[in-house]
Amino acid sequence: MRIGVFVCHCGSNIAATVDPAAVAMAADSMPEVAYATDLMYACAEPGQKAIVEAIGEYRLTGVVVASCSPRMHEPTFRKTVERAGLNPYLFEMANIREHVSWIGKDKEANTRKATDLVRMAVEKLRRDAPLHSRRFPVTKRVLVIGGGIAGIQAALDCAEGGLDVVLVEKEATIGGKMAKLDKTFPTVDCSSCILGPKMVDVAQHPRITLHALSEVEELSGFVGNFKAKIRKKAPYVDWNLCTGCGACLAKCPSKKATDRFNEETGLTTAITIPFPQAIPKKAHINPEFCRHFMTGKCGVCAKICPAKAIRFEQEDEIVVEEVGAVIAATGYDLADWSGYDYLGGGRFPDVITGLQYERLLSASGPTGGHVVRPSDGREPKTVVFIQCVASRDPSKGRPSCSGFCCMYTAKQAVLTRDHCPDSKVHVFYMDVRAPGKMYDEFIRRAVDEYGVDYIRGRVSQIFRKGERYVVRGADTLAGAQVEVEADLVVLAVGAQAAHGAEKLAERLHISYDDQGFFMEGHPKLRPMETNTAGVFLAGACQGPKDIPSSVAQGSGAAAKALCLFAKGVLENDPQIANVRPGRCVACGKCVKTCPFGALNIVEARGRRTAEVVETVCKGCGICTATCPQGAIQLQHSTDNQILAEVNALCRF
């Protein structure tokens, strides 16, 4: 092998604390190195050109670049050597920036360490074999999980781009959290008026298949060729027949069912349609409250239904959908605030969450849009809003800012003044965070035009005083303790990942953070991707987001799916596990440890042996470490290569 070594200065990033020329000179005497030099910026156009030219001039058959992290520029340099006619896997990178120059100031020691890393890369390269990607066809269909605004936007954009879309929604209707909101900030326009048309578009689009009241139970396969197992929960109504006329709702005798859509601010019937604009507008039965299921007697809905659509005997249905990409858009839920004893933790009927307050404000809510106290139905004279409940609170394990609460609190404060002009409105806040377009102006309007009283400080306790509540807190600007007697207290409870998000993440083979939010591929540069190819993220499932950001990310995730399918065929990464059948004893340990299900035991030439499904293997290397026979090798990181690197490092 004729190896070329290129040591990058990265401007002063590397050259300030490493001597690249000295590293290159040391590399010159390493085995099989035919050429070594230093470059100002290896990744820039002149740097790449120098590499290409050197390959031609010195007839190089392998290249080492000593520069930054391979996560940064490995793909760049692979393409460079490929352009010069080499196999892209006859290339190695030594990371002398993040691992050397950025973390140490001793130039002499740094130079020695950089030289060691280059020597390791050279030894690895000497044992590299050319690798070739396999090409495979893709299924041009997308699975969108979650029918909130982010999922709706992603589904519509994919469908408009010519892809078939399967939209799975856990609840009986799409619309998500946005459908529960009364108005939206900062324009105070009606939420369901701007969301409704998009929901109808979903229902009517010929390329979108909607599975409501359904959940993804399993995702198998790999990018371009996934198989999703979807459980369609029984609505106990034949949705092909149901016309959504609502006759059953009017006659249902069980009127005390939990109203999840109204955030439990009211009660509903056992057979129900979540709200008038629901998509699909089909009735479903909640068996927990249905008299037929509880006592075996009743069946009023079945008698009254003009379409004869009631099916008490209906069972859950499993459907399997084949898709090429998945967009997760499962959104958020409010954090559990029952541990907040000093705020009552749910003991006081008139201390409610912001989302519950939205339902009280909404004309389609349980009070018809009249702001009243849940306890006695009286109109509140004084309303106190408390921000940052279960947000920015490390003492409760919730250190992060939920981002949108400042704005929705201001909106609700303004709407309160609109609904009840005589009311007094106070907001306890820590900081007002309003960085969006027209956001800060909106906060100013709340203060200046609507006379909302902003008190900077946290609340230490809410307690009952007769019919009212005393909210005690600090006014940190005045340096004083304040007490406000309130009729109604609204808590801006922070967001956490939707219930069950962790479970779904495991089914989708993607990772999640300590709050349950799905992890993006890169916090800045890959916000829509995950580390599982073909699985994308949209909306608040990745972190709290307001509506504009959720819509933007929905469109972004759709663009990612469209890009993926634009090629028609996909290439796999050849850096995957490979079985040497001669050594394999078919013990099956690798099959058990593989987190991706990429290994099987098969019969080949009359004997049993492990086999790697090339398109599923992610090249994690767990099987190679597990195999007691050393029969599985990770291509491009074989045991021999790793040992050669270790020997190069420990040669003295």
Partner: protein
């Protein structure tokens, strides 16, 4: 076999809270909890020590733990939350790189780490519990409306005291509800009474304690139940001052939880030290029997609010 606890009375038991000490001993005896006084016990250092030097405070408090340990005991029980806090803090500071060595030097030995410390309330809650109390009740406190007041120290700092819910504790309520008393949902149960500011800022104590008294009166409390000598003193001894300042006429007896339990157990009033209280509880207590009839049908009080979930129904 009943467990024997080392008993640390603390200095206030020798004076202002003698009735707490007496009622604690009487109730523990009734509950089958053996108390053995810490031999040659000394002051825990109280506030003066811990505001100046954690080392000194730690050594003073820990000396009593050493004494208890050498007597073969594994857990110290004390009626005073302040003493309790100092003992627990001594064990906590023993691990501190600065205070640890200082405490050890002053003490002349290591702070016993395996010694547990607890308040009377905690032991009664843990060992006897609602079931145990119910079994011992001879004269139910039926109809007596009690507001339970914990003060600042019994449950906090949370990580140190490790007892009950820090913001909304329920142990005292649970025990007293078992005596048949009507337990009120007292919202200021962990608020500050003014504590030792009584010495330097009497006005502040009058304001803070006055508030507690006013709220208890508004709720219709017959008695305020306490578990801390200092709280008891501020609320009882200074009740008239507070009332004067706030121009109210509240007269609420401030009783130790042990006194109330003792009454329900039918213990001798002399053993409970009722005579030591400033606001005489006897008129209120005399009404218990009279009220018990009318209250017989009433719900077992106070717990309704605690249990009511935020159903948020608008009718």
């Amino acid at each position: 076999m009943p467990k024997t606890y080392a008993y640390y009375p603390g200095c206030s038991s020798m004076g202002t809270s003698a009735e707490y000490d007496r009622s604690t001993r009487a109730v523990c005896r009734a509950c089958g909890i053996d108390l053995e006084d810490v031999h040659d016990w000394t002051c825990c250092g109280s506030t003066p020590a811990h505001v100046t030097d954690f080392g000194l405070s730690g050594a003073l408090a820990a000396r009593n733990l050493v004494q208890a340990k050498s007597a073969g005991r594994s857990e110290v029980l004390t009626p005073c939350p302040s003493c309790l806090k100092n003992m627990k803090a001594a064990q906590h500071h023993a691990h501190d790189p600065v205070w640890g060595p200082r405490i050890e030097r002053l003490l002349g030995r290591k702070v016993p780490e395996d010694m547990r410390c607890a308040s009377v309330l905690e032991i009664l809650f843990r060992e006897t519990g609602a079931e145990g109390v119910r079994a011992l009740v001879k004269k139910p406190l039926t109809g007596l409306k009690v507001a339970c007041y914990y003060g600042c120290l019994l449950t906090r700092p949370t990580a140190l005291m490790e007892f009950d819910e820090p913001e909304n504790p329920q142990s005292m309520e649970t025990l007293l509800a078992a005596t048949g008393a009507t337990v009120l949902d007292f919202p200021l149960k962990v608020e500050c009474c003014g504590a030792s500011l009584a010495v330097v800022r009497r006005d502040m104590v009058q304001q803070l304690s006055g508030r507690l008294l006013d709220t208890a009166c508004e709720l219709g409390a017959d008695v305020l139940s306490v578990a801390c000598p200092l709280c008891q003193m501020n609320l009882d001894l200074r009740q008239k001052q507070a009332a004067c300042r706030r121009q109210t006429k509240a007269a609420v007896p401030i009783m130790y939880v042990t006194q109330l339990l003792g009454l329900a157990f039918g213990l001798d009033e002399a053993d409970l030290g009722l005579g030591g209280l400033i606001v005489d509880p006897r008129p209120v207590l005399a009404g218990i029997g009279a009220r018990s009839e009318e209250a017989a049908d009433a719900p077992a009080g106070g717990q309704d609010d605690a249990k009511a979930v935020n159903s948020g129904r608008a009718e």
